[in-house]
Amino acid sequence: MNERNSASSSLARVKEVFLAIVELKDVARDAEIARLCGDDLELRDKVVRMLGRHSVEGGFLEAPAAILVPATGTTSGLEPMPERIGSYAIIDLLGEGGFGSVYRARQEVPIRREVALKVIRRGMDSRSVIARFEAERQTLALLSHPNIARVIDAGQTDDGRPYFVMELIEGVPITRYCDQERLPIERRLRLFMDVCRAVEHAHQKGVIHRDIKPSNVMVQATGGRVDAKVIDFGIAKAIEPMGAGSGTEARLTMEAQLLGTPDYMSPEQVDSELGDVDTRVDIYALGTLLYELLAGVTPLGIARRSGSSLPATMRLIREVDPPRPSQRVANLGDEAAEIAALRATDPRRHRAAVTGDLDWIVMRAIDKERTRRYDSVGSLVADVQRHLANEPILAARPGPWYVTRKFVRRHRVAVASSVLLFISLMVGLGATLLALSRAVSAEAQATLARDDLATVNDFLVEDLLTMARPERGGHKTTIVEAMGNAITLVDRRFATQPILAARVRAVMASAYRALGLRDVALATVEPAERILLEQLGPDDPLTLDVTLIRSSALSDLGRLEEAESVLRDADERARAAFGLDHPATLSVRSHLGELLQKMGKHGEADPILIDAIERLRRLRPDDDASVLTPALSLVASLGAQKRYAEAIPYSEVVLRRAKARHSASDPITLAAANNHATMLTNLGRFAEAEETYRALLATLTESMPEGHWQIALARHSLGVSIERQEGRRAEATELLRTSATDLLAALGPDHAFTERVFGVLANHLRAIQSPEEVAALEQAVGLRLRVAKPDERDSAVRAVRSYLVRAAAVRNESTPVALGNLEAYCQAIVDRGEAPGANALSNLGWACLDRSDSVRAERLLLRADQLARTSSDPDLELLREIADRLATLYDMAGNREEVRKWGAKGSGGR
């Protein structure tokens, strides 16, 4: 503080000078300050300090005043403190809450000691509260447990408010203690068990707490001992007069409680029609406490939803099913790292630790339907104990793929990655196979009884996993071998069960697709579809499912029109057979929407996708794969239309749901992450995009072999997101360089991605003024020249032009030399016997014509014509295009005869 300063320089003077110069620029400003302040150095210093402050963006007083909620939730300092209450001398305020204030007080008789004194706020009938407490007193006296703080006395203040006197606990609420000490999950569980045992003890003596919540479960650390203490036993009942009865007082009490900590109230506490309060309200509250200790937030998060009305809060408590703790943890967003750190872990491990046993324990304790909760606190503790001892818990339901997952996890290192990839795909798809059975018609179900599933299960687990076992030399098995074996195995094993064989084939076809073996995928699924058409007919959901796999295989192969007609046909059949609101129909329509979007028919695709998403959401949970897949297509479609801002809410939600429901390496999650990051990049939100790409890349490198095109592409995108960030351009070089080479190796020179990444690399190298720029550009231009589509002619020409300019600038080469390089480059394509050689020459020739190098243009085009004609499979369209180009060239040269000759061969001559 600077009082002397302000005393000597009056605010009026300071303000005058400040406002006179604040808009001025540096030099003018200095001069003006000197002029206005003269020799008043104090004034000058003050103004200069103020200007220094002023130039800093944001900050001081910018945000309106705010009160930080104290970590204790106690000392809001808003209530005056009395000196005495009854026979107790008040020492200081310990806390304030919805019910009133808690003071530290001194008791004089019968013994001198410090106690806690809780004064209930106005609005209660003190006499009946105290009478009820007296009635309970005998019972409360029976409570004797190291983790229970005893209530000693009750009375009435001078202004008529009831108060309770209890054992003084110098501690903090359990949730805060755990966070403060950064206790890992296991230690939290042990502390929680102490709390449970205290509550169990009370239950055995016939006392229900009714208001268990963090502020009533204190942790006291004294002399190396850490004790959890449950406080306020008996108080809730005393101030909650008619049990679950009616009456204004009861209602007001409940409302007060709802205003306080509604998260911990069980449905039967807010709705007396659900039955009387019994020990299970404490089980519910304990489950909620465990949830918060694990996840860092309460199940319903009511306290965090600001402005919920009372009826809305009650409805929430009665009706809304909270997510499992692990799902909640997965959705923590920005807070995830912080909350995990408070548990001495990272978000991934945090989620893993909560997933499974603890999920089920918590969910069982907080079931809305109290008959489904644990029947006693004892059985809740026992399950937590079992979990800690790695024994199977009662509440858990292990899934059918438990064994397989365990196997894959155990052998992760030993099993060769390529085979592992195949196996895990098959195992993952095995789950799809199970899922399929749910949608299957009655006839199909009859043929796919439990035994059949077991057979399939054996096949996947034993046959395939055995193949991968390192001790049997499995690590030498290549993917192709493994798959070849698998096909033979299917035919042998399911020889007498055609439908089952078809299903397994369908699953394998999907695995082939995922591995990029497109021809094999189509060849595998076609017989399966034929079998099912024969056995089940065209309108069976299973047949439709397999038809969908065939359409996807066709689409993979670029046979889009065929795929479209397959899907339109299936759509018609499904709608006739099942109507629009059937999962089978909607699955077909999702595929159709996806295909149409891929074909660029966005106008048709979007409404189909939106409609399918809406209808599916009514049938399936929001995070179901069947809902997420069309949502992903919609994101892709909006993205393709450059409607990024519209796409981003979808991409965000899809990613979040995919992460919550599926593993990080699930194709859906991967695609969702990639889509979302792409939208972020296009919207210029590069830092967020970077974060998403990094996570994506980490997952990909873990689950795919190095050099996979998806890894290369993710690396490239990551590079782009970094490059666009202020001052970080140089960090991107290595990422962009390796990803370009990897992508070229993985996808080959004719893939659109390859050319694009080299273009980006060239631009980047130019920006960092690297001499390598021209080489990258040459590569990019070479790739561009190969494109066969006539409508991209202009872009090929532009590419050549910009290459020539850059080459001249960087290498100091004249245009002919640079063109010579490109000609050599094209010739190399031709020499390697690659198909697009003729096209490349033709495009380069066309570009040269544009540069008025007609001699070179003629040479290149004639050479292209010759090559295209002598090809084993002549491309007539390409030949016509070359003829057109030659006709144009001769026309410019005034050679009528050649114009006629080539014009006849060109598109005009048809």
């Binding site: 503080m1 600077n2 009082e3 300063n5 302000s6 009056s10 605010l11 009026a12 300071v14 303000k15 400040f18 406002l19 604040v22 003050k46 300090r49 103020m50 200007l51 402050r53 002023h54 900050g59 001081f60 007083l61 910018e62 945000a63 309106p64 005043a65 705010a66 009160i67 930080l68 909620v69 104290p70 970590a71 204790t72 939730g73 000392t75 809001s76 300092g77 808003l78 209530e79 020492i91 200081d92 305020l93 310990l94 304030e96 809450g97 919805g98 530290r104 110098e170 903090v172 805060r176 403060q180 205003l259 306080g260 306290a303 965090r304």
Partner: protein, 214 residues
């Protein structure tokens, strides 16, 4: 804390209908007081402040209990909630609004300063209870990276400002304690937005320096 006798006799039937039974009395009082201020009653402003103060204090205590530790409670939100509770959305006259928020900003300032003083005293004087680091920040920090504000020091500086330049101080009150935008502040004080901006920028810089900021 009660309205003056003369104001009390205003017919209650003219008050905007109010569905929140429990707060009908203060709402009536406040509306009445605002009208009295409009009619030039010089005592009315003094009567308004305690009503608003009490309402804000109650709201703050309630909200503090409901929020999670470490969250911030926006003074603005409280002030606006108090407005809805005490005046309702029936009365939208700018003049009344300006009076109300002027009083509310003052009440908010007092609450924050009292609280900061009290917490400070707890910390230094009656310090039997160990104070954790988390509590030291309570005075007015908020976690979202804003500068911490020492409300006691700010209050003292504001007093000095009020003594020399009342208009500038009122801009600070409305902007900072009632969360008014530049435009709203301009309207409430009958100034142009440009001059509000100038006053505000100077006030912030001056206060920052007075509070010993670097």
């Amino acid at each position: 804390m009660n309205a003056s006798e003369g104001n009390r006799q205003d017919p209650a039937g003219n008050h905007p209908d109010n569905t929140q039974g429990s707060s009908s009395a203060p709402q009536g009082d406040v509306t009445r007081l605002l009208r009295a201020i409009g009619a030039g009653d010089h005592h009315a402003p003094d009567d308004l402040l305690p009503l608003v103060y009490e309402e804000l204090r109650k709201l703050a205590a309630q909200r503090l209990e409901r929020e999670r530790p470490g969250q911030t409670l926006q003074a603005t939100a409280l002030v606006h909630e108090a407005y809805l509770r005490l005046v309702g959305d029936g009365d939208t006259s700018w003049e009344n609004k300006a009076h109300f928020f002027g009083a509310a900003a003052l009440a908010m300032r007092r609450i924050l300063v009292d609280r900061a003083r009290r917490l400070g005293r707890d910390r230094h004087g009656g310090g039997k209870r160990p104070i954790s680091l988390a509590e030291i920040d309570v005075a007015g920090v908020n976690e979202s990276g804003h500068d911490s504000v020492d409300f006691v020091a700010l209050d003292e500086a504001l007093r000095r400002m009020e003594a020399e330049d009342e208009r500038m101080a009122r801009v600070v009150m409305l902007r900072y304690f009632a969360g008014f935008s530049i435009e709203e502040t301009a309207e409430a004080l009958g100034m142009s937005p440009t001059s509000v901006k100038r006053e505000w920028s100077c006030a912030r810089a001056w206060l920052y320096d007075e509070l010993g900021g670097e």
